[in-house]
Amino acid sequence: MLSRRIIACLDVRQGRVVKGVRFRAHRDMGDILDVARRHRDAGADELVFYDIGASPEGRSVDRTWIERIAGFLDIPFCVAGGIRSVADARRVLHAGADKVSVNTPALEAPDLIDALANEFGTQCVVVGIDSRRAADGDWRVFSHTGDAARIREQPQRTLDWLVEAQRRGAGEIVLNCMDADGVRQGFDIEQLAAARALCDVPLVASGGAGSIAHFSEVFRLADVDAALAASVFHSGAVAISALKQALAAEGMEVRGAC
């Protein structure tokens, strides 16, 4: 049976791992290689590297650190940030990444999703969606979320964009619930469950993890395939080994919990 995945997310800026709260005030968390190795050894099923400066600054993701990571990592990893073209994606994948995740560039040019899926297969193509409840009560997509000064609300409803992204060839969706992000009060179960109902490909919950109970809750109540977190893993507030043991004790299929 397929395991529920625990994904550690590393927000990367200039080769360092950083973490912001509600997408602001980034704090240095250490060298990218050290943090990646620590999470791998702790039992993370997968790592995601978000080059959070790339999209807002309008540049492509830097591949030198991807090659460093790929040289030692023996679990899958995905790279996000600044991938605007098939050529960008090819560079990242050839540097050793398993998947590419597109967010702002896919909003600006949705055909990018089709092009990536046609070139590399849907299984390589992750679409990241940053979403929060807008003034009218609907969930809306936000772009340029790597830079507080440039965050923009998009016209799309989150759930409409999720359906379109799948139709265009997204092989996985990461739904980052911005209202919950960084505040450790739990995942946005309501939004994730609504997304799950429309999402036929793997769905990754992001934003809000604060405790082991939050992970259990999001798997049970929103039926997501994976849950992603950053700061609770960096700080050790949630130990991945203890998290997996707790999930296994509840009868969930997880990797490496004995």
């Binding site: 790929a70 030692f72 994948l93 036929d200 793997p202 395939d225 990797r255």
Partner: protein, 201 residues
């Protein structure tokens, strides 16, 4: 040991080469027939589309070479699917080194496609390529198509349906998961391939 890693336009070339280096082998990423013939092992990796990959192999003149290889050959993910007779992905004839048809995995309630993540190996024949690998060990899968469980299947996996996870027939082998991304279990299987688990043809 020099290991040819065939460049058929797939995207996981780098990670396969890295995994080989971690095991002390010398990866030779290439689409050149002479270079491939000079290597002691051949790996056919693959991320992408079956018809596109077969078109690239034909364009590079490698189809006949792969069919006639005498050194051990390991197909990874799409590369394993290409070992079979035919794939539904692009309705394409493949290398035909193993009997069977590769078909699309079918979605069902709770069964999302692509099959993406860690899943357990179920052993049918624990010999050679799976030496030292235990029942139920997890490996990392990413695929939307799969090969059937035939007499060549030495380990299977289940995602809504049973499919071949590891195949082996003479000096030809394949793994549906990504050994280069499957932690210690994947490294063990690659090491078995390098150390002579498969007889030369």
């Amino acid at each position: 040991m020099r290991v040819a890693v065939i460049d058929a336009g797939g995207a996981n070339l780098g990670s396969v080469c890295n995994a080989l280096q971690r095991l002390g082998a010398v990866p030779v990423p290439t689409a050149d027939a002479r270079l491939i013939e000079g290597c002691e092992r051949v790996i056919l990796p693959g991320v992408g589309h079956a018809a596109a990959a077969m078109a690239r192999l034909h364009a590079s003149g490698l189809v006949a070479l792969l069919r006639a290889l005498r050194q051990p050959l390991l197909g990874i993910c799409l590369g394993m699917q290409l070992l079979f007779e035919h794939s539904e992905e692009g309705d394409v004839d493949c290398l035909g080194l193993l009997p069977g048809q590769v078909r699309r995995l079918q979605p069902a309630p709770g069964i999302r496609i692509p099959h993406m993540g860690w899943n357990r190996l179920r052993l049918r024949d624990a010999g050679s390529l799976l030496e030292g690998v235990g029942e139920g060990e997890p490996c990392y899968f990413v695929h939307g198509f799969a090969a059937p469980v035939t007499s060549d299947c030495v380990a299977w996996c289940s995602h809504g349906q049973a499919f071949a996870a590891v195949v082996q027939r003479g000096h030809t082998a394949g793994v549906q998961f990504h050994p280069e991304r499957s932690g210690a279990t994947g490294a063990r299987i690659l090491a078995n391939f390098l150390s002579g688990a498969l007889a030369c043809g």
